[in-house]
Amino acid sequence: MSELLGATLTEIAEKIRTREVTSEEVTRCCLKRIEETSDRNIFISVYERESLAQARACDLLTEAGISLGPLHGVPIALKDNINMKGLRTTAGSKILRGNIPKEDATVAARLRSAGAVIIGKTNMHEFAWGGTTENPHYGCCANAWDKTRNPAGSSGGSGSAVALGCCYGALGTDTGGSVRLPSAVNGITGIRPSIGRISNYGVIPLAYSEDTVGPMCRSVEDCAVMFGVLAGHDYRDKTTALVAAQDYTAELHKGVRDIRLGIIKDYSMLHNQPDVQKCYEEALEQFRSLGAIIKEIELPDIDTLIDAQLIIDAVEPSAVHLDLLRKRPEEYGEDVRILLEAGCMFTGTQYLQALSYRSIFKAEVEEALREVDAIVTPTLPFTALKIGQHEIEIVPGQIEDGLSGNMRYTAIASVSGKPALSIPIGFDAQGLPVGMQILGEAFEEALLFRIGNAYQQSTGYAKRTPVLG
């Protein structure tokens, strides 16, 4: 990857600010990269004309000594379930192929206000209901490190786009893990925010009680910069909290001495692919060497976490889609149609039981977070799956479904509403990235960035980039 494309968002923003490069030059590089990787189905829409016009406008402002903000002139991509005024937003579906929103989603508007150049809309799992981004309508998206593997999902296009240098940051959405999973398997950094931290206004919903929007970038610092642009109350989304946003970069360099990191007894260390386990243990050792304290914590009812997560994650999308399921079922991809139809089969009582479980589990997570500052797990128990592979054998002889297997660790944050950051922590024997999840108390994203940055500054995994092949 060229030096320009391999730069981080923070580095390129600085180069644009000091006029070492122009935004137009950088945007053209990204557009060329998008063209070079077009066989990987990373983008659904590419805004060549619009992005170059934005870039030139940013350059004029730069020449006049004006900066719109920390993303001034930087090419950013959005997952295609995030509305942009006048530009189609498909949610990766055939049903919304002609959907032209009348206004920007709040997150899109905030990025634009901070000077971002929106370069295009990334491919995704249809309606965000799935974890592979094998999209039947817009093409199967490929993993950044191995074209025969999927980029996870549902924000797989955003994960691949950032890893391959098509943009310097991207937005994804995360319900059951859809920012963290593609971040992990594409070797980049991504964060699921606290529920209520970032507005969902103008984002096509999947599961109302779990949907979030999160940045995906090549470094923790970049994520913190984007997060600062996005976070904060939105009067148009009444689920956003009245908790003030902050400067998420202020604590980045404080290190982790005496920070307590929790590993979940009888859970985090079990049921991982051997290379994932190895990378996870090495990352824990690295944190110890940086002065962090590793401590075992318990989540007594974690054994039925995935059961509850799947019920919530199935019923809520089915409620969102029920009208369309009645009228236009054949327009859904088969895998999503099955999930939506099956989600309709749960009773109200079963759903309420899952919500009761949520209250109990959330309390257990909060109890644990009084003993430690953050809980650390692998982001998922395995590395990227082959395209078309929907089952996994982690424990020899035990075949499990990829969808539920994916969520073993990501469900902890999804069910409890807490924020969770995924950072790259190494590679398996086949050169596929491994991720670690760092989960904290609500609205403690700055601490998660601090912990993740300490690790990244002392290792080189985040700097490695895939080779196009």
């Binding site: 009680s209 019920i311 399921l325 099955i338 999930l339 309709c344 089969m345 079963q350 109990i360 609500a442």
Partner: protein
């Protein structure tokens, strides 16, 4: 009533288009998910009536 029959029954109640072929396609997912619901049911069954409320709000 087997799984397919239950799928057809609920679909009719919800005015969803469903036939035997589609019910067969749904059956593996349905069966797995109902198994999971049963696991959760067993866990929650032991709770007393004054257990935490199932309020669907995130109170930070």
């Amino acid at each position: 009533m087997d799984a397919k029959e239950k799928i057809l029954c609920v679909s009719e109640a919800l005015d969803m288009r469903m036939d035997e072929a589609r019910a067969a396609a749904l059956e593996p997912t349905y069966t797995d998910w109902m198994r999971r619901a049963k696991c959760l049911d067993e866990k929650m069954a032991g709770l007393s009536l004054d257990a935490p409320a199932a309020a669907n709000v995130f109170v930070h």
